[in-house]
């Protein structure tokens, strides 16, 4: 057994220990703001480690702990995204927490690192049990992170509680599905399941098990109708947590969908792809229509994130190498795009409030911020020359390929629906643009007068994200090569 295999995870755990010690040693009256920088640097180190490691290019992939931990390229790629998101979230948090005088800053950063650790274990899970434990660890961490504004914001506590209850329900569904799968196959190892699925016959119990597993995963991915928690939680959580939850949480959920459905249960694609396609169709329609009438910027972005999860799932439903590559590429674009959007909204909300109208006149007040937010939402809408354009092109290509080459015309119809609904999404993304550039600033409203202050942490976040949004759109080839190498 190769104990050195989970080196990145050890790094993040070590970072968690550093945070814990710092919180213990440094006197109470000293601000914990510096922990944001410590975490950002720590995550940057782990990120460098991940980027330098090569994905295994020959089977069998290296495993540890008796096959419960898999270090394949898929895990490596998704971990890179998760750690990058964690780094950006730390940078976005430091001034946010300080401005609000949050008391539990030490705990906040500890939870952030532990959640990251759990997400990394999750995407490396080689076994339904590791998967479940890692899923619970990250969910519990997120419940607390969402409610970290306790005492300052009632809605934050409410959202934490709501998330906890619904999350527990979905975990129970998933666990029940897992137990049924175990009962049917006699194994909890994903590799074992794959071997079993290749030859097993379909049975009613199998359909129930698949439905339960799909429901549990759809909750984490926030596919309609399991998205109910998302708008409330996204709106009420501290904005850096919203950003982290929306990108890292969703990315890890995507990895799970790939691992469980495509890899382990690929033999039953004819069963679960119907389930998934129903969820996706509901997601495209409901999330995009729901976003139309939102007045709160974060809530609007919550609906947008739900819709984006639907697009990501196209790659999974395609079930092909092309689909997987496209989903991973889109997830990468989505991480940086969504973080950029939430970062701008966070800065603007400091002065202008959470409503969309707080964005009024931003194009004149802070042209740089307005430009980045415009680029981010247009990228989410799939407009060139930003990363979202190629990302969607690639994802839809994976879907259309299945439709034309493999004759799965339902998937083709689903892509058609996705394309049409992405025009609906353009409407609400353009509303953000309209607020910034067309609506004049209201001289009466507080905080919509002068330019928005941008602290150093946020500057770094925005710089990285803007560069990535452009890079992924203008010259994605190196990134595609990296993805191909990871997924070989």
């Amino acid at each position: 057994m190769n104990l050195a295999l989970p080196l990145p995870e050890y790094g993040v755990l070590g970072l968690a220990l550093v945070v814990l010690l710092y919180d213990l040693v440094v006197p109470e009256r000293v601000s914990r703001r510096a922990l944001g920088w410590v975490c950002a640097l720590g995550f940057a180190g782990v990120l460098a480690l991940l980027l330098r490691s090569d994905a295994p290019q020959v089977a069998p992939v290296p495993t540890a702990f008796g096959g419960m931990y898999v270090a394949d390229g898929l895990a490596l790629a998704f971990k890179t995204l998760i750690v990058a998101a964690a780094m950006l979230a730390s940078l976005a948090s430091l001034d946010y927490l300080e401005a609000r005088g949050v008391r539990w800053q030490g705990e906040y950063y500890l939870l952030l690192t532990l959640v990251t650790f759990a997400l990394m274990c999750l995407v490396s899970a080689g076994d339904l049990l590791t998967l479940y434990v890692a899923l619970e660890l990250n969910s519990i961490g997120f419940y607390a992170l969402v409610a970290v504004l306790k005492g300052r914001s009632l809605t934050s506590s409410e959202a934490g509680l709501k998330y906890l209850i619904l999350g527990a329900l979905s975990s129970a569904l998933l666990l029940y599905g897992i137990s049924l799968l175990y009962g049917l196959s006699g194994t909890v190892s994903l590799a074992g399941l794959a071997a079993w699925a290749a030859g097993a016959a379909r049975s009613p119990a199998l359909v129930v098990a698949l439905a339960l597993v799909a429901a549990g995963l759809a909750f984490k991915m926030s596919l309609v109708p399991f998205h109910m928690w998302a708008p409330d939680v996204y709106q009420a959580a501290p904005t850096p947590v919203t950003a982290f939850l929306s990108v890292a949480g969703k990315t890890a959920a995507l990895a799970l969908l790939v691992r469980v459905l495509d890899a382990a249960l690929g033999g039953f694609i004819g069963v679960w792809d119907k389930l998934l396609m129903v969820l996706m169709a509901a997601t495209f329609v409901w999330a995009n229509l729901g976003a139309l009438k939102q007045r709160d910027a974060k809530r609007l972005m919550a609906y947008s994130s739900v819709a984006q999860a639907g697009y990501l799932a196209i790659g999974v439903a395609a079930g092909s190498a092309l689909g997987l590559q496209a989903a991973l590429f889109y997830a990468l674009v989505y991480v940086f795009t969504n973080v950029a959007a939430f970062q701008v909204l966070q800065l603007v909300a400091e002065s202008g409030g959470p409503e969309l109208s707080g964005l009024r006149g931003l194009g004149r007040r802070s042209p740089g911020l307005a430009l980045i937010l415009a680029a981010a939402v247009l990228s989410l809408a799939g407009i060139p020359p930003f990363g979202g354009f190629f990302g969607k092109f690639y994802l839809f290509a994976a879907g259309v390929r299945e439709g034309i080459v493999a004759g799965r015309s339902w998937l083709l119809a689903l892509v058609g629906l996705a394309v049409v609904m992405s025009i609906v999404s353009l409407f609400y993304y353009l509303i953000l643009v309209k607020q910034m550039y067309i609506e004049p600033a209201d001289p009466e409203a507080p905080g919509t007068g002068g330019p928005v202050a941008v602290p150093l942490g946020a500057r770094l976040v925005l710089g990285v994200c803007a560069a990535m949004i452009l890079w992924t759109g203008l010259y994605p080839s190196p990134i595609l090569a990296w993805i191909r190498q990871a997924l070989f």
């Binding site: 060139p384 092109f393 690639y394 290509a397 390929r401």
Partner: protein, 505 residues
């Protein structure tokens, strides 16, 4: 190809000059108020000068072949290449865009409000349009197409008049809705060809070798055609056009009606008809029927509007119907007429919108009944309007005449009874065209002066006259001597007509 241009990436330079100037201008200090228009003029002048050089260097004997090619691998995974080239049709459209962009910048010379942002978006739009007309990889084509359409949202939303936000949103969503279908169609072409390709010449060869089966063509031709035809304002998807053109500021109306709508027709011709010719045959009667509605409905609409911009916008719907009708005939005559009409209408409508902008800037109304007798104080504007209006109703000697004649002949000589009827019905629209053109002239420019304050108005200044005279002179030259242009178009269409398979002319 002349030796002087050997090795110089002239097509990249043409589209990147405005595009990069726009991006650079984005980062200029906000305190600049006069410099943006100079930058815009310089950038569009560079494109215009390069286009003139291109016109001289182009090999007219090989108008059907791609010239001045540039080809680089961009994203190897999906066969995405940066591939540029011009054939005769592209050349004509590039020339049109160069003329209209240059004139549009001059027509916005007096713009004061947020001028930096305005010229940034105008340059991005103009650069994107150049790119689409020269792109020969479908991915590049599609990306530039969206880049050209999207700035319109802010250009209308910020600088427009009337219900500008409504019009801007409607226009953007309808056009992007069309492009959503394009995306599907393009992917279908990619996966329908073996080996998969997004390269337009490769796909043309694939089409010629019969790789796209009849069922495939029947399904995907309407998807691609409608995707483009929304931008060409095909009825009933034209509703963005009157609102959008009426709300847009002058230069934006000029560019939009002048060249952007041509992108739609160009896409129909190059991609939908060019790559799926059998599908085009199957669907041609339906397209012709809708185009006929465009022609007739647009001219009736123009005759019943009282806002000057709405009159011109509806006339654009009518004239674009003529283009689409020409395309639907799928024969040399009709197709050449369609392409020439794209060019002629672009020039004509550019003049119209420039003149309306001039009038509106002075009278502050475009309401026809409250205008009157302007010819007495603004003789230049009135005279120019007369010339453009005569072009609109197809007076011989102006560029629209040969174009419309060819379209009508193409429809009439198509052979099928249906097309003959459509052709005859389309000709009848000239009555309404005469009605609305003469009504505007008579009401706004002749007759008694309705308001005493109109007596104080000044005629167009020198800067305002330049774009109008420039565009009008091209119209007259092409109208009096259309044969070089027609030879260019015929040469460029020859491979396509051959692919369409020896239809009766």
């Amino acid at each position: 190809m002349s030796a002087a241009l050997a090795g110089f990436p002239i097509l990249s330079a043409i589209w990147l000059a405005p595009f990069l100037a726009g991006i650079a201008l984005m980062f200029a200090p906000a305190s600049w108020t006069r410099a943006p228009r100079m930058v815009a003029l310089a950038a569009s002048a560079v494109s215009l000068a390069l286009t003139v050089a291109l016109l001289f260097a182009f090999d007219y004997r090989a108008a059907g072949a791609l010239q001045f090619q540039e080809r680089w691998t961009w994203i190897a995974d999906l066969g995405v290449e940066y591939r540029l080239g011009v054939d005769g049709i592209s050349l004509l459209m590039v020339a049109l865009n160069a003329a209209i962009l240059f004139s549009g910048v001059l027509a916005s010379w007096g713009l004061r409000e947020r001028s930096k942002e305005f010229f940034v978006l105008l340059l991005l739009l103009g650069g994107g349009v150049f790119g689409v007309f020269t792109a020969f990889n479908l991915y590049l084509f599609f990306a530039l197409y969206e880049i050209a359409v999207l700035p319109m949202y802010l250009l209308i939303g910020v600088w427009g008049t009337g219900p500008k936000e409504y019009s801007a949103m409607k226009l953007t969503l309808m056009l992007m809705g069309g492009s959503a279908f394009l995306l599907l169609g393009i992917l279908a072409l990619y996966f329908g060809s073996t080996p998969h390709s997004l390269d337009i010449p490769t796909l043309q060869r694939a089409a010629a070798s019969g790789q796209f089966g009849i069922a495939f063509q029947r399904l995907w031709f309407p998807v691609l055609f409608l995707g483009f035809a929304v931008l060409a304002a095909l009825w009933p998807f034209h509703t963005w056009s009157p609102d959008g053109h009426a709300s847009a500021p002058t230069a934006v109306s000029m560019l939009h009606a002048g060249v952007l709508m041509k992108l739609g027709a160009y896409g129909c011709l190059r991609v939908a008809i060019g790559l799926l010719p059998q599908g085009a045959h199957l669907w041609a009667p339906a397209v012709a029927a809708l185009a006929l509605v465009n022609v007739v409905y647009g001219s009736i609409g123009a005759a019943s509007q009282t806002d000057l911009k709405y009159v011109t916008a509806y006339s654009s719907v009518s004239h674009m119907g003529m283009v689409l009708l020409g395309l639907a005939t799928l024969g040399t005559l009709g197709l050449s007429g369609a392409v020439l009409q794209m060019f002629a209408h672009g020039l004509m409508t550019g003049v119209f919108f420039a003149l309306i902008g001039l009038t509106y800037g002075r009278t502050h109304t475009r309401h026809l009944p409250s205008l009157g007798g302007l010819a007495r104080v603004m003789p230049f504007v009135a005279a120019a309007y007369v010339v453009a209006g005569m072009a609109g109703l197809g007076l011989p000697g102006l560029s629209s005449f040969p174009a419309e004649l060819l379209v009508f002949l193409g429809a009439f000589l198509h052979g099928g009874l249906f097309f003959r009827v459509v052709g005859v019905a389309a000709v009848s629209s000239i009555v309404f065209t005469a009605l609305y053109v003469l009504r505007v002239l008579q009401k706004a420019f002749y007759g008694p002066i309705t308001e005493p304050k109109y007596l104080e108005l000044k005629d167009a200044t020198f800067v305002e006259r330049v774009p109008v005279v420039f565009l009008l002179s091209i119209m007259v030259v092409v109208g009096l001597w259309p044969f070089p242009v027609l030879r260019l178009i015929d040469g460029a269409l020859a491979p396509l007509v051959q692919a369409l398979g020896g239809l009766p002319r």
